[in-house]
Symmetry: C2
Subunit: 219 residues, 2 copies
DNA sequence: ATTATTTTTTAGGTTTGTCTAAATTTTAAT
DNA sequence: ATTAAAATTTAGACAAACCTAAAAAATAAT
């Protein structure tokens, strides 16, 4: 089946929202897409007709199996393009999301196959998020935010959930990127701030807000 | 100013048509875009309001200076992407047009600047057509079709105007590509066919139709 | 258990880009 | 110079995707 740019954006947003809460609500989706609840309801009816989601009036909705498959293929395109933009074109990773938001809608399967080959089948995008494979299979990475990780345990940064320029600026300052090794040395209960030791650098303190946005691998 | 995908497609098509005939007609544009004359008239009014073209009812229309600039930036994006698809992703050049037709509308100047850097500032696309530079400057390549080139003169293939898979198949058979050196040895007036000698290969005969679609540099 | 608040849906409109059919203008043919 | 044909424009409609305002349903508060 074929989907419009708008439909694809809705499908992808529903997918992301239902990672957190199984059943998605009209308001949360409207908020995510920066649109009006009435518009969401309109689109839901369309997607229901296309048999992409389960929808019970006033209750909520979720993608069904084929909806998830569509979503994962959009996510795949998005993350492959992000990877391309950073590793090949030299973009910083706070600039790639908006562009990938457009590129993800270019609808040639052959293009994505060849792009994936060209990039040597990357498994994670520049923000550390896993790239679904051709068949829609996505690695489930067990993660924990720095705010929750045990003290004095060596961990590796897996992803960063806030991808704003301001966040990137701060991370550069702390010498933190995807793959960086670090360890939490002290936790301060007054403001939730955390002292960390990043590879060979002197220990430093990060705010609770920053700590909550940095995720590390967890077994 | 900002243009929709549809507007961009119209602008680019007008640009291409007015390379041949200064004043473009409604029917020819409708034919080019596979749409209806009435739709063309509608769009012309919109583009006129946006001060992109000169338009006299029932007479015809042409892009003005700023319209041409917009067109050239779309052509630039299209051809850079085609170059990328062939040289980096390994597409054959009969497959890239449709994909570039979508990619050209991704609207990030920074993306195109970086793509151009990444590709090392190519000056021609895979079909031999010149790529306009950042400022909209496009090389005017003097060309002559093989059907018109003088006999026994060594020439170099500059571009191929028919980009169908069938044409590509034939050209591969003849060992002809962009940059190939060849020379017309005999011209047969019965059917307009032409005997050519391609680099080190034995002479061969190409039909008038093929000859008319292959262009060579001309001083 | 009512009442108030919030969430969601419906009703009715707007914009963009398309279409068909009819009217108008231009061009070609007699 | 008329008439016929072709090209172009106008008129009116339609689908997609959005909106606001009002109605309906679900939740929360008294
Ligand atoms: Mn998008
Ligand atoms: Mn990402
Ligand atoms: Mn296009
Ligand atoms: Mn080309």
């Amino acid at each position: 089946m074929n989907f419009s740019v708008s439909e694809e954006n809705y499908i992808k947003s529903i997918y992301h929202l239902q990672q957190q809460t199984d059943l998605v609500t009209t308001n949360s989706l409207a908020n995510e897409l920066q649109t009006r609840p009435a518009s969401v309801t309109d689109m839901l009816k369309k997607l229901q007709v296309k048999k992409i989601l389960e929808y019970e009036k006033y209750k909520g909705f979720r993608l069904n199996a084929s909806g998830k498959k569509v979503a994962l293929s959009i996510v795949r395109r998005h993350r492959l393009w992000e990877y391309f933009l950073v590793t090949k074109l030299g973009f910083e990773w706070d600039k790639v999301h908006a562009i990938a938001e457009e590129l993800e809608h270019v609808s040639s399967p052959e293009l994505i196959r060849k792009l994936d080959d060209f990039l040597n089948h990357p498994t994670a995008d520049p923000h550390g998020d896993p790239i679904p494979d051709m068949h829609g299979k996505i690695a489930v990475i067990k993660q924990l935010s720095i705010a929750d990780v045990p003290e004095n345990k060596n961990v590796v940064v897996s992803s960063v959930s806030n991808q704003s320029p301001d966040m990137l600026e701060l991370l550069k300052h702390y010498h933190i990127g995807i793959g960086t090794g670090l360890k939490v040395t002290t936790r301060f209960s007054f403001d939730g701030s955390v002292e960390i030791k990043v590879s060979k650098y002197a220990p430093c303190i990060i705010s609770e807000l920053v700590a909550k946005n940095i995720f590390v691998y967890h077994d």
